[in-house]
Symmetry: C2
Subunit: 254 residues, 2 copies
Amino acid sequence: MTSGKALHERLGAEFLRRIESGEWPEGVQVPSEARLCAEFGTSRGPVRQALAMLRQEGSLVGGRGRPPVARKVARSQPFASLLSFTQWARSIGRLPGQTTVEVARRRAAPETAGRLGVEDGDTVVEIVRLRTLDGVPAMLERSAFVWDVGRHLFDFDPDSGSLYEELCRRGAGLDHARHTIDAIAAEPADAELLAVAERTPLLRVRRQTFCPDGEPLEFSDDRYLPSLTNFTIENTAEGRTVAGRHSTGEEPEH
Amino acid sequence: MTSGKALHERLGAEFLRRIESGEWPEGVQVPSEARLCAEFGTSRGPVRQALAMLRQEGSLVGGRGRPPVARKVARSQPFASLLSFTQWARSIGRLPGQTTVEVARRRAAPETAGRLGVEDGDTVVEIVRLRTLDGVPAMLERSAFVWDVGRHLFDFDPDSGSLYEELCRRGAGLDHARHTIDAIAAEPADAELLAVAERTPLLRVRRQTFCPDGEPLEFSDDRYLPSLTNFTIENTAEGRTVAGRHSTGEEPEH
């Protein structure tokens, strides 16, 4: 019984892998039970159990009387992986890196003050970093922090890793975030750091991160080479929404 | 009693409007109960009930003993309003419009075939439309439909309104969609139709729409003037995600 249970679970995991990799394309019937039994050298029981399990979680649909059809079920990326470039890069098996251009304590300009909910001229911490994937420039990040959060950055080498992880270790309560996505032409400083021509289209994501009480803690303006990264929103008629940041797997156009 | 109940609900609606409009800024304490009583010429009871109601739904947080702090609670846009430009424009009080550049029945090119899950050379319907907000060009839409869905478009004047509504009326089961967002330089045809310079950065949203069984029905490539429209993703540490399309309220840069 125990090995029977393990078998249908192993079969289910393998079937799911095939659906998610596209080996069993979405919208196309999967092989018949008889073919699956032959392929895995097993009886119908475990194959049926595995198919029923995937049907229950929505990865197989339709097919009364004939083989069901594969459907990719979107899985939400964890909150941290939309906030943290480092955690996101690791989650997709790429090596994250960064070169810090500057960390500055300065008086907030009006736009930054507005986004951070502080007064014009209040002290904030601003940081500019070039972020890389496997050593290749991928994104230019400009972040501003309210002083209570940002002051921790002066005790930390921002070239050494994830600001997000460091701030969480120091107890900054990053609770929710709003990402606004548009496109912008590379300005001279962007072009130089990202090693592209001026006015190259960049994918811009502006983010406000809030503490649980709704006070903004951070505002960032991240400019991505769109040839390396995109964002997805998946939604359903029933109202489920899932969002993610993705690597296109392409090399940048230089 | 009835008028008392109506009063706290009216107060609650007004307070929520102030939070959502930013009149009561996020992260900032709202006025004291005493000030609200004076402003609305009412006793403490209804003001307290209204504040408690907003606290329960998360629009007010913190403030034990002192006034609570405003927090914007993101509201999901309905599924249709991410799919349908017409419905989205109406929902924000703008007048949607369109000029159809072409509707064509043709054999699917390899990329389109792949996105629609049909064979190379299968018959598909392709449509190109310039979409406007209050008469101003906002987006260039190129959609391809599988034949069973797209054939309905030949019985319909695409200049007259929403393809999405027309397809739903004819029973096309649009169930879930995947939007992939990046940036692209305006190609010559884009530039001419959107009345911008070539290589102007555009916000591109590629969308696959699926029927409940996971079969793709439509693939579209929408190119927005980023000065008029952006997309947002809001997420929380607890895992709630909300996405939307927004008007920036700005005029296009010409």
